[in-house]
Symmetry: C2
Subunit: 346 residues, 2 copies
């Protein structure tokens, strides 16, 4: 037995209906509600039986309708990918509006992107920034905050990414810090964040006049070095969206899901980064995360500064509105890639 055009049409109808209602779909529903060539429910029934044998449908119990399997969703999403859906102009304008181009802080940009996508799709959204270590230093600035402390600002090709406070000698003037910043920028420009610390250590001796600042700078960079090992900024939007789906009406399930979102480490492992423009679909246990057995996740990648990859993931019930999600993701990855490329050009 083979998959044919008619079976495919029926399967699509079933998936569409299930996405809409979250209820097992019966043969009569398909026959009446969807245009599948005016076939009677009996014929549909035969076809559905075949589709089940082929592994595309599951039956919760004998007297219920049928439910699409993971295999079916995968087929469905693949067919959508080829159709290359475009976001209606109204929606893309709205998204653009939520993402003020003014944000240069990576943190804020990612945060906004996560919220915008979550709102547009109605699902939970996770955005991962580019890997910290890979970013290239554009400049370092040390700005006095008080007599004893200063703010360390690191500007990279991807964004302004980190600001920690460091301690300074009492009486250190803004001018002195300015000079140090100048020199550091000259020396370290172009290195990746991962390379800064070792280089800085080598420079230690040349900067005796500013020993205190250097010491505390080294410490701060060491901290960044450690923190940034294999790390990237992660933002989550619309965590509570999942609650509106009957799949998560059980409070316990909802709680494990929401707790999972708060454990950033787990999220990080979830956000594997692919190549730009390629979508990855993971269904249920494939995500490898506890509490996501009833979820599916679509991930798409973007690049910052033309090279550092990051990713956006939309997490929803398995019966997600894949078409719409794909459109939003396509738009947003393009937008982020452009925005972050532009900022690197500036």
């Amino acid at each position: 037995m083979e998959m044919d055009e008619r079976k495919l049409r029926i399967l699509h109808a079933i998936i569409d209906d299930y996405i809409l209602t979250a209820m097992p779909v019966g043969s009569r529903t398909v026959s009446k509600k969807y245009n599948v060539g005016g076939l009677s429910s009996a014929t549909i029934r035969n076809e559905m039986s075949d589709l089940e044998a082929l592994g595309y449908l599951d039956q919760p119990h004998t007297s219920a309708g049928r439910v699409p399997s993971a295999k079916a969703y995968r087929l469905y999403v693949e067919s959508l990918l080829n159709a290359a859906p475009k976001l209606p102009p109204g929606e893309s304008a709205k998204l653009r509006g939520q993402l003020s181009a003014r944000e240069r802080q990576l943190h804020d940009l990612i945060e906004r992107a996560a919220h915008a996508v979550a709102e547009a799709t109605g699902y939970t959204t996770v955005v991962a920034g580019p890997a910290t270590r890979e970013q290239r230093l554009r400049s370092i600035q040390i700005v006095p905050v008080s007599d004893h402390t200063a703010l360390l600002i690191i500007v990279t090709d991807a964004a302004v990414f980190k600001d920690t406070t460091i301690r300074t000698d009492e009486g250190t003037t803004a001018e002195q810090l300015f000079v140090v910043s100048r020199m550091l920028t000259d020396q370290l420009q172009g290195l990746t964040v991962g390379e800064i610390w070792p280089r800085l250590k080598g420079m230690q001796s040349c900067l005796r006049e500013h020993a205190r600042v250097m010491y505390s700078l080294l410490e701060a960079m060491g901290r960044i070095e450690r923190d940034s090992a294999d790390s990237r900024e992660i933002a989550v939007g619309g965590g509570s969206n999942i609650l509106q789906f009957p799949e998560y009406s059980d409070a316990n399930k909802a709680r494990t899901f929401l707790n999972m979102l708060e454990a950033r480490e787990k999220l990080r492992t979830l956000m594997t980064i692919g190549t730009e423009g390629v979508f990855t679909l993971r269904i249920g246990a494939e995500t490898g995360i506890q509490g996501m057995e009833d979820c599916a996740m679509i991930t798409a990648s973007y690049t910052a500064a033309g090279e550092h990859p990051g990713a956006i993931g939309v997490i929803g019930p398995v019966r997600m509105r894949y078409g719409h999600v794909l459109s939003v993701l396509a738009f947003m990855t393009r937008y982020l890639s452009e925005a972050l490329f532009m900022s690197s050009e500036l």
Copy 2:
């Protein structure tokens, strides 16, 4: 009929039990499980009937036990206030550990505080920072980020509070920006954030050489001016904690609650600021927020830089573990006041 010592003991027992179990408490339970002078359930029953008449207990239906009323909780909390509970050293050490003293960015500090309190109490926590407009400017720094943009950093007596990007002329050097920052700081130091913009407008003409920077600075400050009207930083921690309580096992209720947390504006109205060290308790509808009918909220205030008040609020089910929450809040407000006072002294 009057409230007496014995009635009070019984009421406390009922509240304690209800906080623990979330189930109406019967006379037998009080008699057996709690030490209220070895009275029989019949006696307790009479007392409970009196307590109901006095408005301290409610009865969901005839054959159920009794449930404390809002009036009862208020009495309970008041008695706890006098007892002045101290946090066990282990817990305070843990809290201290979560709040790295290194954070000078108000945003981060508040965020951490919200999460730490949420974790310590197991309830949802909202932290409101000091009012933006009231803070006094310590210095302004403009730091180049790229050829066309610079980061505006405003340091106030309470914290480093805002960083927006502004546009600069192509070819503006770091030195030029440094000089402008210098001058602006000299001119504006000591003003409140609310006063900066008007003053800056007056200065406009004196700065012809840096017209572009000034223009964009004015625009940025205008934006801050508008945004900061009556505003303060708000951070939320442990939003999903509410889900573990049977009061919120209904997915719909949980959703409205979580949505409420995302609407920062509503939260802001919720966080009325009182005097330092004073606790405010609001129960159910008193909060004035839809979706919080089954919640109670305890708020405590702290001061930043010895004068600007902010507040921490813990939101949980009405049957909250008030004793513990009060201890945590007492610790945290003291901690925040100290941390923010020290940073203003530096």
